[in-house]
Symmetry: C2
């Protein structure tokens, strides 16, 4: 394992060129006009995994975008690691805020810039290169499977069925995932909790056409005003969510565990400075890390209606829409929450409008026990690279399929993320520091080594 640094040094230009070939493909899963780019990206991954040393690699069809699946089997006697990642990326808007083109990756200021640089092309590609190193140097200590999907950013809908149908093929001792962040470049951490997710699109309709706001203003329900009033009533003055029974199943964290979590370093000043905000904002009675780690949240991710162009148009639009997401914590079922939202949201509508609610996707929350042997192996691997023990962190983000793996395949996942809070994933100017990219490639083989040692059959 000791010559991994040298291997990276000798091959880093090629590593980046290969990664760039993935980043250049605009594999935006939420936009159906990019269907062909999904296929192109899957095919490029297949080439790269074969080159890296996989025995076999297939592009396996699903109901949606295909799964790239590869294997390298050494021996029945060795444990098996299943690497999970995704080759789809988020949309790029608002496009005018990108300083470099989203799909023309560049190296600048020691970072890789472009959509997917971190999430998740950059992070999952570290696994391909760590794997390549172990294969070429003859030190691969485990069997390896790769499963890369193309729908993570839209809810992994097809992957649930894919797992159901391929249970035996996907058999493994652990699932290893790099799709999360560390607390800081010098503060390694492992994500042990992920929030669940509910996502709906709502529409409020009033008259059958746009109306002149002078002739009708004051006498006809304005769907924008009404939608705003309905959204406003989803939370109260303490920023608690008002949907009846929303918090009913929320896992209550003991005061003891909250005190432990509070030991993780957090600076409100730095947080505010980094985001350029004047003040924090969230549920009364909880700290910022608690608000994202152990409490559910409700965010309007998009809203639109009426005239959005230059200048003034005096109109009452016939409809207004919004996209609303929930982040859920362990024990909250996104289907139940979506149903409760639906009933409550409809009840908020005055009789002068009609309301539509369309669920878009959802997923369960996940918790990784920190006494899991695989977790311990990850801990040791980070210590090799960073010289300090990683902090276990409950992230506010969601990777719904991780809970699905647990439920369907009965395999726990370990989330060895190397992203940073400043990587601007899902935003313009997504980036990934070269240092994190190379540290990831360096750390992963240590996980293999520790995991193999702990799982001798």
């Amino acid at each position: 394992m000791n010559n991994v640094n040298q291997y990276i040094e000798e091959n880093k230009e090629r590593f980046l060129e290969e990664l760039f070939s993935l980043l250049r493909i605009p594999s935006i899963s939420s936009d159906s006009t990019h269907k062909n780019d999904m296929i192109k990206c899957a095919e490029r991954w297949k080439e790269l995994l074969i080159e890296a040393g996989a025995d076999t690699c297939e592009i396996m069809p699903t109901d949606g975008n295909p799964v790239v699946y590869a294997e390298k089997k050494i021996s029945e006697d060795l444990p098996t690691i299943l690497i999970y990642g995704h080759y789809d990326v988020m949309p790029t808007d608002p496009n005018e805020l990108w300083e470099t083109a989203a799909f023309e990756p560049v190296i600048k200021d020691g970072k890789i810039w472009g959509r997917g640089a971190d999430d998740d092309k950059g992070q999952s590609f570290m696994h391909a290169k760590a794997f390549e190193f172990m294969v070429r140097k003859g030190c691969l200590p485990c069997n390896v499977k790769f499963m890369l999907e193309g729908e993570e950013e839209i809810g992994s809908e097809s992957l649930y069925g894919f797992c159901e149908e391929n249970k035996s093929r996907l058999k493994a001792d652990v699932i290893l995932v790099s799709d999360t962040s560390m607390l800081a470049a010098d503060m390694p951490s492992i994500t042990t909790g992920l929030r669940g997710l509910g996502y709906v699109e709502v529409k409020v309709r009033s008259a059958n056409r746009d109306l002149h706001s002078g002739l009708y203003g004051g006498a006809v329900a304005n769907p924008i005003n009404v939608l705003c009033q309905m959204i406003a009533r989803l939370t109260d003055a303490d920023n608690r969510i008002t949907i009846p029974d929303f918090y009913k199943e929320v896992l209550v964290i003991s005061d003891e565990e909250r005190a432990l979590m509070a030991q993780a370093p957090f600076s409100a000043e730095n947080y505010k400075k980094e985001l350029k905000i004047n003040d924090l904002h969230g549920e009364k009675g909880y700290s910022t890390p608690e608000r994202t780690g152990i409490r559910p949240s409700l965010d309007v991710c998009g809203i639109w209606g009426g005239y959005q162009g230059e200048g003034a148009k005096t109109v009452i639009p016939s409809e207004a829409s919004a996209k609303i997401s929930f982040r859920l914590v362990p024990n909250q079922d996104f289907n139940v929450i979506t149903d409760r939202f639906y009933a409550y949201f409809k009840s908020l509508a005055p009789s002068s409008v009609t309301v539509e609610v369309k669920p878009l996707h959802g997923g369960y929350a996940y918790v990784c026990p920190i006494d899991l042997p695989a977790y311990k192996a990850a801990e040791k691997a980070y210590m090799e690279t960073y010289g300090k023990r990683p902090v276990p962190v409950r992230s506010g983000g969601s990777i719904p399929i991780i809970a699905g793996f647990d439920r369907i395949l009965g395999i726990k996942s370990v989330l060895m993320g190397f992203g940073l809070g400043s990587d601007a994933i899902h935003s313009p100017n997504e980036n990934y520091p070269l240092e994190q990219f190379f540290n990831g490639i360096k750390t992963i083989p240590y996980f293999y080594k520790e995991f193999a040692a702990a799982n001798k059959k």
Copy 2:
């Protein structure tokens, strides 16, 4: 005057061809990419007014779009009528709802279809053709001035200065305007009141970039949620506007006058059926005609922020915006109201966000006394065409410059509109019935005759 019907019959194909040449020019004043179309439209109007019989016609520059100004002077001893209209039109979005192209006018089902067919190219062109008839038949009984502006839909900003600078040139005994509607095709009415208008654009900002709604959701102010909460607080459960002192100067209408107004025919059932709405919606304690006629209103004309594309993007946007309009009644000053809105809106913002308010335009309300000789002349003119006395109506709409004419030029306006509620002005599928168009051309010369008789010098 009696042969106006015959003149229309003989020339109607040409009238429509000429009107279409105006309708084909996309003179959208709120969109600066249409700057050249404004000039083209002004030039076409100049040609048409000269052809119709004007002695002179000039395209007069202003700080914004030019004014088309024409004159026909017969004698110092005769009264002068100043025709006011506008050659600019509203934007066309949502474009997908137009059944025919907005700027490719057609005749279908007895109506003219296209942006501007009614508002205001169709209506102002009736004056050109009525004028042409009187000139060619030698029966023009007044001096005539035409003033057509290109900024009515964006607040007539340049026309105020134009009036100040051209006071003596614009001298007239009355201003005649066709830019309003009748109650129904068989129920002539004259608009005697117009609401004033305030229009602002607001923006709420939170973090310096779009954020991942999982990693930050619950811990950072979401500008969409906050904007919705702020908008919701602009009105109360009785649909009254909550801005402090908003109603302070509102002209209180006596119970007696309200009882008189209530005699005008109004069917809530038809109103709901026509707009396909389940219920009325407005300020408690007032009828629908009162809500638009004598009460101010607040409408969000547009809202936008975050992800509006297909599917789900889990993002907390960095900002959200809205366009908000007020319709104001006599005695409310739009500058004062805008200031009060500004102070109140800012006070609603939590410390976690910043707020911008940009006033876009405004105008005063207007009332035309029904004992004005010019009003009486208009009344008689409608009676000639429709065989019944027109009903005086306070419209909910605004033509801010009408109050400006009164203030700057000291001239009252008479609003002889021939539009119908079904003309979909400001909406997709704007239209203007041929019957209204030709009835307008027929009625206008009678106004000239009656007005000349009442104003013998």
